[in-house]
């Protein structure tokens, strides 16, 4: 952990410190929709991890070939192709999981974790580091989905990975259907975010990183929002009144990575 250039650091940072789901708030849609059971959550996590590692590797290999101006469409096409391959594999080998995840498999394409990591990391780092970063982020995402899925399955249906939990169903405690419904998804996710932020403050002795959210993910910001913001004439009043205006620190590609490095140094000092 001491050496912030080590591969182990790249791997571990995705798990709590920069957990993509619970700290960076990327990829919330699948996290809420498919986590009605632990197995669904883990399946979704593994699927997203596979695409994330592959897309990080491919984009890192192609980073010097892809022209800067068309990089976002290029990234999206690469990711969409990988997702199509994954969809075929899942249809062939895990048809039940594929059916229960349904539309959220193709929607991995627009999952901001993948485009976000492509833009913020793979586009400016070597192949090995990008693969490790993808693995770490993917494991962090999978763990988060596993916890949310387990809580919702145990409390909502009284089972865990499909196995009945006798001390819930026989102990006079009724399964609470609300946890299986959309409302329960939001509530469990909210509590998980609160807990992770608390853990983060304790272990890293600093405020959690500012929430990015998909609307402000680096993929969207660098490519297009910045271009639009600079093109809107002043009298239209577009950029100056809305909150989507790009933060100064995020305007240039690759700056986000440096920005995070600065935070790391800070956290080590506070230790």
């Amino acid at each position: 952990m001491k050496n912030k250039n080590s591969l182990l650091y790249e791997f571990l940072k995705g798990i709590i410190k920069e957990n993509p789901l619970l700290i960076l708030m990327l990829g919330t849609c699948p996290a809420l929709a498919v986590t009605t059971s632990a197995w669904n959550g883990v399946g979704m996590g593994i699927a997203a991890t596979a695409v994330l590692i592959m897309s990080n590797v491919v984009i890192s290999l192609l980073r010097k070939i892809i022209p800067d101006k068309v990089r976002i469409p290029a990234f999206i096409t690469i990711i969409a192709s990988l997702v199509t391959v994954l969809q075929f594999l899942m249809q062939a080998y895990v048809p039940a999981l594929n059916a229960s995840l349904g539309i959220f498999i193709p929607l991995i394409t627009v999952n901001c974790i993948i485009l976000g990591r492509a833009e913020a990391f793979a586009n400016s780092n070597s192949v090995i580091r990008s693969a490790i970063d993808g693995l770490g982020m993917g494991v962090g995402f999978t763990l988060a989905l596993f916890f949310i899925g387990s809580i919702r399955e145990i409390l909502g249906f009284g089972t865990f990975f499909g196995i009945k939990m006798p001390w819930i169903t026989d102990g006079g405690l009724q399964p609470m259907m609300i946890f299986g419904l959309p409302a329960g998804g939001f509530a469990v996710f909210g509590i998980m975010v609160a807990i992770t932020q608390k853990l983060n403050k304790r272990f890293y002795a600093r405020q959690p990183q500012a929430v990015m959210g998909c609307a402000e993910c680096p993929g969207c910001i660098n490519a297009q929002t910045a271009a639009v913001a600079s093109q809107v004439p002043e009298n239209l009043g577009g950029p100056k009144t809305t909150k989507v205006v790009v933060p100064e620190t995020l305007k240039e590609p690759g700056v986000l990575a440096d920005h995070k490095d600065a935070n790391k140094e800070e956290s080590e000092e506070t230790k």
Binding site: A33, I76, T77, P106, T109, F186, G213, T225, T242
Partner: protein
Amino acid sequence: MKEMLIILFSVVLIDNLVLSRFLGVCSFIGLTKDLKNAMGMSVAVIFVMMVATGITYPIYWSILEPINLGYLQTVIFILVIAAVVQVLEAIIRKAFPPLYKAMGIFLPLITTNCAILGVMLINIQEIYNFGSAMMSSFGAGIGYMLAMFLFTGVRSKMENADIPEFMKGLPITLMAAAIVSVSFMGFKGVIENLFG
């Protein structure tokens, strides 16, 4: 007509895009801090959703399906959406400056908004005819707008509330979303009662 109304009511109230299908949650949480942003984003989503459905639906059923390339839908749809967003942005900026002022800044964010791609895929999955597909897209957009507006109101009330320290920020926002989602569960059964 009755079928259209059933689709409209079910996508707006029962299968609400954000609160029960969980599409577009990121922008739902990110852009509901004030009404102006919520409004701009919702208008842009409705607009792009209708136009993109009008393009992707014929592409799928008249080109991809007959030559057995249906599996390419993800790649094709995401490229169509990206292209539509770029072209729309250019057209609106030239032709309708007031509209551009209201929603222009939100257009680029829509390319990676899962709500759009999700609705395109649902329209194909449900095997709607063209009219129903357009109605489903319109309804989904209206449902998104409704959820955004309701949630903006809830969040503006939360500004002055006394919130426990560890729930501040995102966690309390998600808890509020859970309660708004519970309120939408009350619409279950509205279709049966309205249309028999």
